[in-house]
């Protein structure tokens, strides 16, 4: 069985936690997910960063999401002239 990377673990966790983050955290709150679970939250990204540093969590694979924001699942990048 293939081993999931930290990034995949955190992405999968986010998909599962998405609704509860929306329900349990005020809009605009920054929430960090590491090891598949929520490890910290703060009013600003910088505060969250400081908190994560204090906890010794400095991996760039930690997922950070803003409560209340629906991250798009699909983008149309236009640039038709660039594609040709």
């Amino acid at each position: 069985m293939a081993t999931l990377t930290d990034q995949e673990i955190n992405e999968n966790a986010y998909r599962q936690l998405k609704d509860s983050i929306k329900r349990d955290y005020p809009a605009g709150r920054f929430v960090a997910i590491d090891g598949g679970k929520i490890v910290a939250d703060a009013a600003t990204f910088d505060e969250l960063d400081e908190m994560l540093n204090t906890l010794g969590k400095t991996s760039p694979d930690i997922m950070v999401v803003e409560a209340g924001v629906d991250y798009p699942e699909y983008f149309d990048i236009l640039l038709p002239s660039l594609r040709s």
């Binding site: 992405e11 910088d46 760039p60 991250y71 699909y74 983008f75």
Partner: protein, 143 residues
């Protein structure tokens, strides 16, 4: 690139000529990296850069999205441009196909800068160049 006070003004570059900007990012280790990015006001993403640049510069992950150029890996990027009153984290995406397509216009281009960044500044263009400057009356944009 020329600077008048805190304006960044760049003559169009590439074939066909494209508007572009130098955007400065601060990596988690404190190092600063500048990327030349093609300016695309139609892009819904603040930045689309190569996957390797995203890994180097990202301060945290966000969810992965899909696009007509394939998978877009998301990450938080710290923009460090105090001269434009922009020092904040913005969502960026990694997609090598977008970068290689931008490079067809000019090999210096390392991706796209889109509307979520451009709306934080005042931007414009004339027959010769494209420029950005701080929003009138804006203070530092920190988030």
């Amino acid at each position: 690139m020329t600077s008048r006070a805190s304006e960044q003004r760049n003559p169009y570059k590439g074939t066909p000529p494209r508007a572009w900007l130098v955007v400065r990012f601060k990596a988690r280790n404190g190092s600063i990296e500048e990327l030349q990015l093609l300016a695309d006001t139609g892009s819904p993403c603040a930045f689309i850069i190569s996957n390797s640049a995203l890994i180097r510069l990202r301060r945290g992950l966000t969810s992965t999205s899909q696009s007509n150029f394939g998978q877009m890996r998301g990450g938080w990027l710290r923009v460090e441009m105090p001269e434009l009153n922009v020092q904040r984290k913005l969502l960026g995406y990694g997609n090598d196909m977008v970068v290689s397509t931008a490079k067809k216009s000019h090999p210096d281009f390392e991706g796209l800068v889109g509307l979520p960044f451009l709306r934080l500044v005042e931007y414009g263009g004339d027959a010769d160049s494209f420029w950005v400057r701080p929003l009138q009356g804006s203070g530092p944009q920190l988030k």
